[in-house]
Protein backbone atom coordinates (compact mmCIF):
# COMPACT_ATOMS: atom_id res chain seq x y z
CA UNK A 1 0.00 0.00 0.00
CA UNK A 2 1.29 3.42 -0.85
CA UNK A 3 1.68 5.34 2.35
CA UNK A 4 2.48 8.92 3.04
CA UNK A 5 2.94 10.05 6.58
CA UNK A 6 0.83 13.08 7.40
CA UNK A 7 0.22 15.42 10.28
CA UNK A 8 2.38 14.21 13.12
CA UNK A 9 1.07 16.25 15.97
CA UNK A 10 3.78 16.35 18.54
CA UNK A 11 2.07 18.99 20.65
CA UNK A 12 -0.19 16.96 22.87
CA UNK A 13 -2.86 19.54 23.73
CA UNK A 14 -3.26 20.47 20.05
CA UNK A 15 -3.57 16.85 19.02
CA UNK A 16 -6.16 16.30 21.74
CA UNK A 17 -7.99 19.49 20.82
CA UNK A 18 -8.20 18.51 17.15
CA UNK A 19 -9.36 14.93 17.68
CA UNK A 20 -13.03 13.95 17.62
CA UNK A 21 -12.65 12.19 20.97
CA UNK A 22 -10.97 15.22 22.52
CA UNK A 23 -13.76 17.46 21.27
CA UNK A 24 -16.35 15.16 22.79
CA UNK A 25 -14.49 15.20 26.10
CA UNK A 26 -14.49 19.01 26.05
CA UNK A 27 -18.20 18.89 25.21
CA UNK A 28 -18.81 16.57 28.16
CA UNK A 29 -16.84 18.57 30.75
CA UNK A 30 -18.38 21.90 29.73
CA UNK A 31 -21.74 20.11 29.66
CA UNK A 32 -21.33 19.20 33.31
CA UNK A 33 -20.71 22.86 34.18
CA UNK A 34 -23.80 23.90 32.22
CA UNK A 35 -25.95 21.15 33.79
CA UNK A 36 -24.96 22.34 37.27
CA UNK A 37 -25.85 25.89 36.27
CA UNK A 38 -29.21 24.80 34.85
CA UNK A 39 -30.07 22.96 38.05
CA UNK A 40 -29.10 25.69 40.50
CA UNK A 41 -30.63 28.42 38.33
CA UNK A 42 -33.87 26.45 38.47
CA UNK A 43 -33.69 26.20 42.27
CA UNK A 44 -33.09 29.96 42.41
CA UNK A 45 -36.03 30.66 40.11
CA UNK A 46 -38.42 28.56 42.14
CA UNK A 47 -38.13 31.15 44.94
CA UNK A 48 -40.62 33.05 42.80
CA UNK A 49 -43.27 30.94 44.46
CA UNK A 50 -42.24 32.20 47.87
CA UNK A 51 -43.29 35.67 46.92
CA UNK A 52 -41.98 39.04 45.83
CA UNK A 53 -39.67 39.66 48.80
CA UNK A 54 -37.90 36.32 48.61
CA UNK A 55 -37.11 36.36 44.87
CA UNK A 56 -36.06 40.02 44.96
CA UNK A 57 -33.87 39.29 47.98
CA UNK A 58 -32.31 36.37 46.08
CA UNK A 59 -31.65 38.60 43.07
CA UNK A 60 -29.96 41.19 45.28
CA UNK A 61 -27.97 38.50 47.11
CA UNK A 62 -26.47 37.27 43.85
CA UNK A 63 -25.20 40.79 43.19
CA UNK A 64 -23.76 41.36 46.66
CA UNK A 65 -20.34 40.04 45.62
CA UNK A 66 -19.74 41.27 42.06
CA UNK A 67 -16.36 39.48 41.88
CA UNK A 68 -17.97 36.12 42.60
CA UNK A 69 -20.80 36.85 40.20
CA UNK A 70 -18.41 37.74 37.41
CA UNK A 71 -16.20 34.76 38.14
CA UNK A 72 -19.22 32.50 37.75
CA UNK A 73 -20.23 34.34 34.58
CA UNK A 74 -16.77 33.95 33.08
CA UNK A 75 -16.71 30.22 33.85
CA UNK A 76 -20.14 29.85 32.26
CA UNK A 77 -19.19 31.91 29.24
CA UNK A 78 -16.00 29.92 28.67
CA UNK A 79 -17.98 26.70 29.03
CA UNK A 80 -20.62 27.84 26.56
CA UNK A 81 -17.98 28.95 24.06
CA UNK A 82 -16.06 25.66 24.29
CA UNK A 83 -19.30 23.67 24.14
CA UNK A 84 -20.32 25.47 20.96
CA UNK A 85 -16.82 25.35 19.52
CA UNK A 86 -16.61 21.57 19.83
CA UNK A 87 -20.09 21.07 18.43
CA UNK A 88 -19.24 23.27 15.44
CA UNK A 89 -16.06 21.27 14.80
CA UNK A 90 -18.02 18.01 14.96
CA UNK A 91 -20.81 19.39 12.79
CA UNK A 92 -18.33 20.48 10.10
CA UNK A 93 -16.84 17.00 10.19
CA UNK A 94 -20.29 15.42 9.97
CA UNK A 95 -21.20 17.53 6.95
CA UNK A 96 -18.07 16.43 5.13
CA UNK A 97 -18.32 12.78 6.08
CA UNK A 98 -21.20 11.80 3.82
CA UNK A 99 -21.10 13.75 0.54
CA UNK A 100 -23.81 11.59 -1.09
CA UNK A 101 -26.78 11.07 1.16
CA UNK A 102 -29.12 8.10 1.32
CA UNK A 103 -32.35 7.99 -0.63
CA UNK A 104 -33.92 6.09 2.23
CA UNK A 105 -32.55 5.79 5.72
CA UNK A 106 -34.44 4.58 8.76
CA UNK A 107 -33.51 5.13 12.38
CA UNK A 108 -33.92 1.96 14.37
CA UNK A 109 -31.95 2.40 17.55
CA UNK A 110 -31.73 6.03 18.61
CA UNK A 111 -33.67 8.63 20.52
CA UNK A 112 -35.25 11.68 18.94
CA UNK A 113 -33.28 13.80 21.39
CA UNK A 114 -29.92 12.40 20.34
CA UNK A 115 -30.56 13.01 16.65
CA UNK A 116 -31.70 16.60 17.17
CA UNK A 117 -28.83 17.88 19.33
CA UNK A 118 -27.62 20.01 16.41
CA UNK A 119 -31.07 21.65 16.30
CA UNK A 120 -31.88 22.01 19.98
CA UNK A 121 -28.42 23.50 20.65
CA UNK A 122 -28.53 26.54 18.33
CA UNK A 123 -32.16 27.28 19.23
CA UNK A 124 -31.18 27.24 22.91
CA UNK A 125 -28.34 29.65 22.14
CA UNK A 126 -30.82 32.03 20.53
CA UNK A 127 -33.04 31.65 23.57
CA UNK A 128 -30.22 32.34 26.02
CA UNK A 129 -29.28 35.55 24.20
CA UNK A 130 -32.90 36.65 24.24
CA UNK A 131 -33.29 35.62 27.86
CA UNK A 132 -30.23 37.64 28.97
CA UNK A 133 -31.41 40.69 27.06
CA UNK A 134 -34.86 40.32 28.58
CA UNK A 135 -34.31 39.50 32.26
CA UNK A 136 -30.67 40.34 32.97
CA UNK A 137 -29.88 43.43 30.88
CA UNK A 138 -33.45 44.66 30.50
CA UNK A 139 -32.72 45.64 26.91
CA UNK A 140 -35.90 44.00 25.66
CA UNK A 141 -38.96 45.02 27.62
CA UNK A 142 -42.05 43.09 26.60
CA UNK A 143 -45.09 43.77 28.72
CA UNK A 144 -43.79 46.84 30.52
CA UNK A 145 -40.73 48.77 31.66
CA UNK A 146 -37.83 46.78 33.17
CA UNK A 147 -37.17 47.72 36.78
CA UNK A 148 -33.66 46.99 38.00
CA UNK A 149 -33.84 44.87 41.16
CA UNK A 150 -37.54 44.05 40.94
CA UNK A 151 -37.13 40.47 39.75
CA UNK A 152 -40.69 39.56 40.63
CA UNK A 153 -42.23 42.45 38.75
CA UNK A 154 -40.05 41.90 35.69
CA UNK A 155 -41.01 38.22 35.58
CA UNK A 156 -44.71 38.93 35.86
CA UNK A 157 -44.56 41.71 33.24
CA UNK A 158 -42.55 39.61 30.77
CA UNK A 159 -44.41 36.35 31.10
CA UNK A 160 -47.82 37.98 30.98
CA UNK A 161 -47.12 38.41 27.26
CA UNK A 162 -48.28 35.10 25.84
CA UNK A 163 -45.66 34.80 23.09
CA UNK A 164 -42.80 35.47 25.54
CA UNK A 165 -44.07 32.62 27.69
CA UNK A 166 -44.60 30.36 24.68
CA UNK A 167 -41.05 30.98 23.43
CA UNK A 168 -39.80 30.28 26.94
CA UNK A 169 -41.78 27.07 27.28
CA UNK A 170 -40.71 25.77 23.86
CA UNK A 171 -37.09 26.56 24.66
CA UNK A 172 -37.31 24.76 27.99
CA UNK A 173 -38.74 21.66 26.29
CA UNK A 174 -35.79 21.76 23.88
CA UNK A 175 -33.49 22.14 26.87
CA UNK A 176 -35.13 19.04 28.31
CA UNK A 177 -34.46 17.11 25.10
CA UNK A 178 -30.87 18.35 25.05
CA UNK A 179 -30.37 17.20 28.66
CA UNK A 180 -32.14 13.90 28.10
CA UNK A 181 -29.34 12.94 25.68
CA UNK A 182 -26.48 15.03 27.02
CA UNK A 183 -26.71 14.07 30.67
CA UNK A 184 -25.99 10.38 30.03
CA UNK A 185 -23.96 10.84 26.85
CA UNK A 186 -21.32 12.87 28.72
CA UNK A 187 -20.40 9.76 30.72
CA UNK A 188 -19.95 7.81 27.49
CA UNK A 189 -17.74 10.59 26.08
CA UNK A 190 -15.58 10.50 29.20
CA UNK A 191 -15.17 6.74 28.87
CA UNK A 192 -17.72 5.51 31.38
CA UNK A 193 -20.12 2.89 30.15
CA UNK A 194 -21.17 -0.20 31.98
CA UNK A 195 -23.98 -2.60 31.11
CA UNK A 196 -25.36 -2.22 34.61
CA UNK A 197 -24.89 1.52 35.17
CA UNK A 198 -25.59 3.03 31.77
CA UNK A 199 -29.31 2.08 31.62
CA UNK A 200 -29.64 3.66 35.07
CA UNK A 201 -27.82 6.79 33.88
CA UNK A 202 -30.22 7.06 30.94
CA UNK A 203 -33.18 6.90 33.34
CA UNK A 204 -31.59 9.52 35.61
CA UNK A 205 -30.94 11.77 32.61
CA UNK A 206 -34.62 11.47 31.70
CA UNK A 207 -35.67 12.23 35.27
CA UNK A 208 -33.30 15.22 35.42
CA UNK A 209 -34.67 16.54 32.13
CA UNK A 210 -38.30 16.21 33.29
CA UNK A 211 -37.55 17.92 36.63
CA UNK A 212 -35.73 20.77 34.90
CA UNK A 213 -38.48 21.33 32.33
CA UNK A 214 -41.24 21.26 34.97
CA UNK A 215 -39.24 23.49 37.33
CA UNK A 216 -38.66 26.17 34.71
CA UNK A 217 -42.01 26.00 32.95
CA UNK A 218 -43.94 26.28 36.23
CA UNK A 219 -43.21 30.03 36.45
CA UNK A 220 -44.59 31.28 33.09
CA UNK A 221 -47.49 28.82 33.33
CA UNK A 222 -48.52 30.07 36.75
CA UNK A 223 -48.14 33.72 35.67
CA UNK A 224 -50.26 33.11 32.58
CA UNK A 225 -52.83 31.24 34.66
CA UNK A 226 -52.98 34.17 37.07
CA UNK A 227 -51.82 32.11 40.05
CA UNK A 228 -49.31 34.41 41.73
CA UNK A 229 -47.85 34.21 45.19
Amino acid sequence: MATTVIGTREIRPIRFWESTNGQKAIMAVTGIVLLLFVFFHMLGNLQFFEGREQINFYGAALRRFPEALWAARVILLVSVVLHIWSSVKLAVRKNGARPTGYTARKNINSSYASRTMYWSGPILLAFIIYHLLHLTAGAIQPGGAFVEGDVYGNLVKGFSVWYVSLWYIISMILLGLHIRHGAWSLFQSLGMNHPRHTPLLKKLAMLFAVVVVLGYVAIPVSILAGVRP
Binding site: I6, A104, N193
Partner: protein, 274 residues
Amino acid sequence: MRVTLKIWRQASRGGSGKFVSYPVDNVNPDMSMLECLDVLNEQLIERGEEPVAFEHDCREGICGSCGFMINGVAHGPLPATTVCQLTMRHFKDGETLTLEPWRARAFPLIKDLVVDRRSFDRIIASGGYISTSTGGACDGNDILVPKETADRAMDAAACIGCGACVAACPNASAALFTGAKITHLGVLPQGKPEQDRRAIAMVAQMNAEGFGGCTNIGECTGVCPKEIPLEVIAAMNRDYLRGSWRARDNVVTPIRPFTEWSTGSKLKNDPTGG
Protein backbone atom coordinates in the same frame (compact mmCIF):
# COMPACT_ATOMS: atom_id res chain seq x y z
CA MET B 1 -42.64 -14.99 -4.20
CA ARG B 2 -41.71 -12.02 -6.29
CA VAL B 3 -39.93 -8.85 -5.29
CA THR B 4 -38.83 -5.69 -7.04
CA LEU B 5 -35.23 -4.75 -6.40
CA LYS B 6 -34.51 -1.06 -6.74
CA ILE B 7 -30.73 -1.07 -6.95
CA TRP B 8 -28.16 1.71 -7.08
CA ARG B 9 -26.27 1.27 -10.37
CA GLN B 10 -23.02 3.13 -10.85
CA ALA B 11 -20.48 1.97 -13.41
CA SER B 12 -17.38 3.44 -11.86
CA ARG B 13 -15.98 5.54 -9.09
CA GLY B 14 -16.08 8.92 -10.75
CA GLY B 15 -19.33 8.38 -12.64
CA SER B 16 -22.81 9.26 -11.61
CA GLY B 17 -25.24 6.63 -10.45
CA LYS B 18 -28.98 6.08 -10.45
CA PHE B 19 -31.55 3.64 -9.15
CA VAL B 20 -32.78 0.94 -11.53
CA SER B 21 -35.75 -1.27 -10.67
CA TYR B 22 -35.57 -4.97 -11.46
CA PRO B 23 -38.57 -7.24 -10.92
CA VAL B 24 -37.43 -10.70 -9.81
CA ASP B 25 -39.99 -13.51 -10.13
CA ASN B 26 -39.79 -16.97 -8.61
CA VAL B 27 -37.84 -15.92 -5.56
CA ASN B 28 -37.51 -18.86 -3.22
CA PRO B 29 -38.34 -17.62 0.32
CA ASP B 30 -35.43 -19.69 1.67
CA MET B 31 -32.90 -17.88 -0.51
CA SER B 32 -30.59 -15.37 1.07
CA MET B 33 -30.58 -11.78 -0.13
CA LEU B 34 -27.32 -12.43 -1.96
CA GLU B 35 -28.73 -15.54 -3.67
CA CYS B 36 -31.63 -13.40 -4.81
CA LEU B 37 -29.07 -11.04 -6.36
CA ASP B 38 -27.35 -14.08 -7.95
CA VAL B 39 -30.65 -15.03 -9.60
CA LEU B 40 -31.10 -11.48 -10.83
CA ASN B 41 -27.53 -11.39 -12.15
CA GLU B 42 -28.03 -14.62 -14.13
CA GLN B 43 -31.05 -13.04 -15.76
CA LEU B 44 -29.10 -9.87 -16.48
CA ILE B 45 -26.23 -11.85 -18.01
CA GLU B 46 -28.69 -13.81 -20.18
CA ARG B 47 -30.13 -10.53 -21.39
CA GLY B 48 -26.62 -9.26 -22.11
CA GLU B 49 -26.74 -6.58 -19.41
CA GLU B 50 -24.11 -5.75 -16.85
CA PRO B 51 -24.65 -7.80 -13.66
CA VAL B 52 -25.00 -6.00 -10.33
CA ALA B 53 -21.66 -5.83 -8.52
CA PHE B 54 -21.79 -6.70 -4.83
CA GLU B 55 -19.15 -7.91 -2.42
CA HIS B 56 -19.36 -11.35 -0.82
CA ASP B 57 -17.14 -14.13 0.37
CA CYS B 58 -18.04 -16.66 3.07
CA ARG B 59 -21.83 -16.25 2.89
CA GLU B 60 -22.11 -17.48 6.45
CA GLY B 61 -22.03 -14.12 8.21
CA ILE B 62 -18.48 -14.13 9.52
CA CYS B 63 -16.20 -12.61 6.87
CA GLY B 64 -17.53 -9.07 6.76
CA SER B 65 -17.41 -8.75 2.98
CA CYS B 66 -21.07 -8.26 2.22
CA GLY B 67 -23.35 -5.48 3.22
CA PHE B 68 -25.58 -2.78 1.78
CA MET B 69 -28.61 -0.81 2.85
CA ILE B 70 -31.99 -2.47 2.40
CA ASN B 71 -34.87 0.01 2.66
CA GLY B 72 -32.68 2.38 4.64
CA VAL B 73 -31.34 -0.10 7.19
CA ALA B 74 -27.81 -1.48 6.99
CA HIS B 75 -27.91 -5.27 6.43
CA GLY B 76 -31.71 -5.13 6.27
CA PRO B 77 -34.46 -5.38 8.85
CA LEU B 78 -33.31 -8.45 10.80
CA PRO B 79 -31.10 -7.67 13.80
CA ALA B 80 -27.67 -9.31 14.16
CA THR B 81 -27.71 -10.55 10.57
CA THR B 82 -25.57 -9.84 7.54
CA VAL B 83 -27.22 -9.66 4.11
CA CYS B 84 -25.82 -13.08 3.20
CA GLN B 85 -27.69 -14.60 6.13
CA LEU B 86 -30.87 -12.61 5.57
CA THR B 87 -33.43 -14.89 3.95
CA MET B 88 -36.09 -13.60 1.62
CA ARG B 89 -38.94 -14.94 3.78
CA HIS B 90 -38.49 -11.89 5.98
CA PHE B 91 -39.89 -9.76 3.17
CA LYS B 92 -43.44 -9.57 1.92
CA ASP B 93 -44.47 -10.97 -1.44
CA GLY B 94 -44.48 -8.18 -4.00
CA GLU B 95 -42.39 -5.85 -1.83
CA THR B 96 -40.04 -3.31 -3.35
CA LEU B 97 -36.58 -3.38 -1.76
CA THR B 98 -34.26 -0.40 -2.14
CA LEU B 99 -30.64 -1.56 -2.19
CA GLU B 100 -28.09 1.20 -1.69
CA PRO B 101 -24.36 1.03 -1.03
CA TRP B 102 -22.76 2.28 2.21
CA ARG B 103 -22.44 6.04 1.89
CA ALA B 104 -19.46 7.74 3.49
CA ARG B 105 -16.59 9.85 2.26
CA ALA B 106 -14.18 7.35 3.80
CA PHE B 107 -15.90 4.55 1.85
CA PRO B 108 -15.56 5.70 -1.77
CA LEU B 109 -17.83 3.79 -4.11
CA ILE B 110 -16.16 1.39 -6.54
CA LYS B 111 -19.10 0.01 -8.46
CA ASP B 112 -22.83 -0.52 -7.84
CA LEU B 113 -23.03 -1.83 -4.26
CA VAL B 114 -19.27 -2.21 -3.69
CA VAL B 115 -17.36 0.36 -1.66
CA ASP B 116 -13.68 0.68 -0.83
CA ARG B 117 -13.29 0.01 2.90
CA ARG B 118 -9.52 0.12 3.11
CA SER B 119 -9.82 3.05 5.49
CA PHE B 120 -10.63 0.31 8.04
CA ASP B 121 -7.43 -1.53 7.12
CA ARG B 122 -5.38 1.61 7.68
CA ILE B 123 -6.99 2.12 11.10
CA ILE B 124 -6.06 -1.45 12.06
CA ALA B 125 -2.54 -1.05 10.67
CA SER B 126 -2.00 2.07 12.77
CA GLY B 127 -2.36 0.24 16.09
CA GLY B 128 -4.42 -2.93 16.00
CA TYR B 129 -1.65 -5.28 17.01
CA ILE B 130 0.25 -6.51 20.06
CA SER B 131 3.96 -6.95 20.61
CA THR B 132 5.13 -10.46 21.07
CA SER B 133 8.47 -11.97 21.95
CA THR B 134 9.93 -14.37 19.47
CA GLY B 135 11.66 -17.55 20.57
CA GLY B 136 10.32 -20.63 22.19
CA ALA B 137 6.59 -20.88 22.55
CA CYS B 138 5.44 -19.97 26.02
CA ASP B 139 3.41 -22.40 28.07
CA GLY B 140 -0.32 -22.48 27.72
CA ASN B 141 -2.09 -20.48 30.44
CA ASP B 142 1.18 -18.68 31.12
CA ILE B 143 -0.75 -15.43 31.32
CA LEU B 144 -3.93 -15.87 33.31
CA VAL B 145 -6.93 -14.07 31.84
CA PRO B 146 -10.11 -13.86 33.92
CA LYS B 147 -13.10 -15.38 32.18
CA GLU B 148 -15.04 -12.12 32.36
CA THR B 149 -12.19 -10.23 30.67
CA ALA B 150 -11.86 -12.89 28.01
CA ASP B 151 -15.59 -12.62 27.33
CA ARG B 152 -15.41 -8.84 26.97
CA ALA B 153 -12.47 -9.11 24.62
CA MET B 154 -14.24 -11.80 22.61
CA ASP B 155 -17.43 -9.75 22.34
CA ALA B 156 -15.43 -6.85 20.90
CA ALA B 157 -13.35 -9.14 18.70
CA ALA B 158 -16.53 -10.41 17.06
CA CYS B 159 -16.40 -7.29 14.87
CA ILE B 160 -16.10 -8.41 11.23
CA GLY B 161 -15.36 -4.93 9.88
CA CYS B 162 -18.32 -4.90 7.50
CA GLY B 163 -18.82 -1.13 7.80
CA ALA B 164 -22.51 -1.18 8.72
CA CYS B 165 -21.79 1.02 11.77
CA VAL B 166 -20.39 3.76 9.54
CA ALA B 167 -23.23 3.33 7.06
CA ALA B 168 -25.93 3.62 9.73
CA CYS B 169 -24.33 6.46 11.71
CA PRO B 170 -25.92 9.86 11.03
CA ASN B 171 -22.39 11.27 11.45
CA ALA B 172 -20.73 8.54 9.32
CA SER B 173 -18.45 7.86 12.27
CA ALA B 174 -16.23 4.81 12.58
CA ALA B 175 -16.23 4.95 16.38
CA LEU B 176 -17.87 1.54 16.91
CA PHE B 177 -15.39 -0.19 14.61
CA THR B 178 -12.34 1.56 16.06
CA GLY B 179 -13.69 1.11 19.58
CA ALA B 180 -14.15 -2.63 19.02
CA LYS B 181 -10.60 -3.00 17.72
CA ILE B 182 -9.13 -0.96 20.59
CA THR B 183 -11.19 -2.81 23.20
CA HIS B 184 -10.55 -6.37 22.13
CA LEU B 185 -6.81 -5.88 22.50
CA GLY B 186 -6.83 -3.29 25.28
CA VAL B 187 -8.69 -5.32 27.89
CA LEU B 188 -6.35 -8.32 27.61
CA PRO B 189 -2.99 -8.49 29.40
CA GLN B 190 -1.31 -9.20 26.07
CA GLY B 191 -2.56 -5.86 24.73
CA LYS B 192 -1.71 -3.74 27.75
CA PRO B 193 1.83 -2.65 26.72
CA GLU B 194 0.51 -0.69 23.73
CA GLN B 195 -2.80 0.37 25.29
CA ASP B 196 -2.07 4.12 25.35
CA ARG B 197 -0.28 4.27 22.04
CA ARG B 198 -2.89 2.11 20.34
CA ALA B 199 -5.81 4.37 21.23
CA ILE B 200 -3.97 7.54 20.22
CA ALA B 201 -2.70 6.12 16.92
CA MET B 202 -5.95 4.47 15.89
CA VAL B 203 -8.01 7.55 16.73
CA ALA B 204 -5.55 9.73 14.78
CA GLN B 205 -5.87 7.49 11.73
CA MET B 206 -9.67 7.35 12.10
CA ASN B 207 -9.76 11.14 12.12
CA ALA B 208 -7.38 11.37 9.15
CA GLU B 209 -9.71 9.18 7.10
CA GLY B 210 -12.52 11.72 7.14
CA PHE B 211 -15.06 9.79 9.19
CA GLY B 212 -17.45 11.87 11.26
CA GLY B 213 -17.23 12.19 15.03
CA CYS B 214 -19.25 10.00 17.37
CA THR B 215 -22.11 11.79 19.14
CA ASN B 216 -23.38 8.72 21.03
CA ILE B 217 -26.54 8.33 18.98
CA GLY B 218 -26.48 4.54 18.96
CA GLU B 219 -27.62 3.63 15.43
CA CYS B 220 -24.35 1.72 14.88
CA THR B 221 -24.95 -0.88 17.54
CA GLY B 222 -28.53 -1.35 16.33
CA VAL B 223 -27.43 -2.49 12.86
CA CYS B 224 -24.23 -4.27 13.88
CA PRO B 225 -24.46 -7.90 12.73
CA LYS B 226 -22.27 -8.87 15.68
CA GLU B 227 -24.15 -6.66 18.17
CA ILE B 228 -21.01 -4.86 19.34
CA PRO B 229 -22.14 -2.75 22.31
CA LEU B 230 -21.69 1.03 22.64
CA GLU B 231 -19.50 0.20 25.61
CA VAL B 232 -16.54 -0.26 23.24
CA ILE B 233 -16.79 3.40 22.22
CA ALA B 234 -16.58 4.42 25.87
CA ALA B 235 -13.57 2.11 26.25
CA MET B 236 -11.93 3.84 23.28
CA ASN B 237 -12.66 7.25 24.82
CA ARG B 238 -11.24 6.10 28.14
CA ASP B 239 -8.08 4.72 26.56
CA TYR B 240 -7.73 7.85 24.46
CA LEU B 241 -8.15 10.22 27.40
CA ARG B 242 -5.80 8.27 29.60
CA GLY B 243 -3.31 7.81 26.78
CA SER B 244 -3.36 11.52 25.95
CA TRP B 245 -2.76 12.32 29.58
CA ARG B 246 0.16 10.06 30.33
CA ALA B 247 1.70 8.93 27.06
CA ARG B 248 5.42 9.63 26.74
CA ASP B 249 6.44 8.21 23.37
CA ASN B 250 3.51 9.72 21.60
CA VAL B 251 4.81 9.91 18.05
CA VAL B 252 1.66 9.43 16.05
CA THR B 253 1.98 9.02 12.32
CA PRO B 254 -1.34 8.73 10.55
CA ILE B 255 -0.92 7.90 6.87
CA ARG B 256 -2.61 9.68 4.04
CA PRO B 257 -5.79 7.96 2.89
CA PHE B 258 -4.81 6.72 -0.55
CA THR B 259 -6.12 4.31 -3.13
CA GLU B 260 -3.36 3.32 -5.44
CA TRP B 261 -5.17 1.60 -8.27
CA SER B 262 -6.38 4.75 -9.91
CA THR B 263 -4.18 7.80 -9.97
CA GLY B 264 -5.95 11.00 -9.26
CA SER B 265 -8.22 9.29 -6.78
CA LYS B 266 -6.51 10.79 -3.78
CA LEU B 267 -9.21 11.69 -1.32
CA LYS B 268 -9.58 15.36 -0.57
CA ASN B 269 -10.17 14.81 3.08
CA ASP B 270 -6.81 15.45 4.66
CA PRO B 271 -7.67 17.48 7.76
CA THR B 272 -4.12 18.71 8.08
CA GLY B 273 -4.30 20.36 4.67
CA GLY B 274 -1.01 18.73 3.74
